[in-house]
């Protein structure tokens, strides 16, 4: 196994950067309209629980990656088959984030540039980061991820004079059903996607702090998401939000006498960069373990090339991308984000109980 070690703060920032990822420009839980804050609160609670499950799996199987755990608990053949599904899932997720990034940049910043050029150049930079190793990605996140909440704070404070603090009322105007649906979507995107971290948790230097790190990053990301929602709603109103594509970007355009548009681009560059790097790293590591060779770097270039092509191939346009992300992604993700991890937790706990009983007898 790679001997890289990352500190608690680096893991916390990697998780936070991953969770902010595309959420800083895509405004999740948008389906609940005015009540999105409620959906985020419920989804955030579910997300904390789900990420707690991932942390528990990692704690029960210290120093083991997702592929090791799958092989050990499900047997070599079944474990390898499920691992291949996870490899596909990580590649698919990386492609989705690359496409989000490309669509955003080509819609608001570089409308004349072909999307494949934007995505390709971004991928080249990220390939360099992934090939440099997880320690380097951790250090980069230490340097850059704190910029994300800072930018959110700058934009929020700059807009304080144009706030309408009653814009989120009335509460539960359309009933509880859209809130629950949006909350479920918010669990799958972004919290459930952190299943990729099961490939990274073995690198944490102080494993006893894992649960604390995971829970605190989930809570902070939820609070930041709610803060962004309130800011956007107070400034734009729910009707305009319902008809907008990139809501935080639109909000940033409304700051009187100041152009901070590029700060939103920077946020996506950092968050999206962390997310794609983690996904490709997880996919490359998992593939190298399944195929039985040591160095994940051998295939990272090929995986990145495939991700770039897949990101262009997946959707015909931005509307198809949004529709797929909100209505299909949560259901498609359930088996890999919830069902398999729950099964692994069950099997790992059972094994641990057996071992402790055997120890007591002897």
């Amino acid at each position: 196994m790679e001997k890289a070690r990352i500190s608690s703060i680096q893991m916390f920032l990697l998780l936070s950067g991953f969770l902010f990822g595309s959420t800083v420009i895509l405004a999740p839980a948008q389906g609940a309209k005015n009540d999105a804050w409620l959906a985020m609160l419920l989804g955030g609670a579910g997300g904390v629980l789900l990420m707690g499950i991932y942390a528990a799996i990692a704690s029960l199987n210290p120093s083991k990656t997702l592929v090791d755990i799958l092989r050990e608990r499900m047997g070599k053949v079944a474990g390898n088959i499920v691992a291949v599904l996870y490899i596909w899932y990580f590649i698919h997720l990386a492609s989705l984030v690359l496409r989000n990034f490309g669509e955003f940049i080509c819609t608001v910043t570089y409308p004349e540039t072909p999307i494949v050029v934007v995505i390709g150049l971004f991928a080249v930079v990220l390939l360099y980061a992934v090939n440099s190793g997880i320690e380097v990605i951790g250090r980069i996140s230490e340097l850059l991820v704190p910029v994300i909440p800072l930018v959110v704070l700058i934009i929020s404070l700059s807009l304080i004079t144009v706030h309408d603090f009653t814009a989120f009322l009335p509460i539960l105007e359309n009933g509880i059903a859209p809130v629950l649906k949006a909350a479920f979507g918010f669990i799958a995107f972004p919290f459930g996607e952190t299943v990729a971290f099961l490939m990274l948790f073995p690198h944490l230097n102080k494993k006893e702090r894992l649960t604390k790190i995971v829970v605190s990053s989930a809570i902070i990301s939820t609070l930041l998401g709610i803060m962004v929602f309130f800011r956007d709603t107070f400034v734009l109103g729910s009707d305009l939000i319902a008809h907008s594509t990139f809501i935080p970007h639109l909000t940033s355009l409304l700051i009187p006498g100041l152009n901070v548009e590029s700060l939103v681009d920077i946020n996506l560059l950092i968050g999206g960069g962390v997310k794609v790097s983690i996904c490709v790293y997880a996919a490359a590591r998992a593939l190298s373990q399944v195929a039985g060779f040591d160095d994940y770097r051998k295939l990272s270039g090929a995986i990145f090339t495939f991700c770039v092509v897949l990101s262009i191939w997946l959707y015909e346009n931005v509307l198809e991308m949004f529709n797929w992300a909100t209505s299909i992604w949560p259901y498609y993700s359930v088996p890999l984000q919830i069902v398999v991890p729950l099964l692994l937790l069950l099997l790992s706990s059972k094994k641990k109980n057996k071992v402790s009983k055997a120890d007591m007898k002897s």
């Binding site: 195929a291 295939l299 270039g301 090929a302 495939f306 191939w313 198809e320």
Partner: protein
């Protein structure tokens, strides 16, 4: 179309010479070739304006068939 082929030739040439120099096992060549071949085929089809049905559409169709989506 030619641009796509040229980019792939450069990428494959760059990586293959590293693999040969380090005497990588066959499975590395096989997996690398699989990803690059799939990427090249899809890229050429996209460049020719003949977009094949995407994995997103396959997944959506599968979820509808299983009754997860209406």
């Amino acid at each position: 179309m030619i641009n796509v082929v040229v980019i792939f030739i450069i990428l494959v040439f760059y990586d293959f010479q590293k693999f040969i120099r380090k005497k990588e096992p066959v499975r590395v060549f096989v997996l690398y070739s699989f990803f690059m071949a799939a990427s090249l085929i899809v890229s050429l089809l996209l460049a020719a304006g003949k977009r094949p049905s995407s994995p997103s559409q396959w997944i959506e169709a599968a979820l509808r068939r299983f009754g997860v989506l209406k």
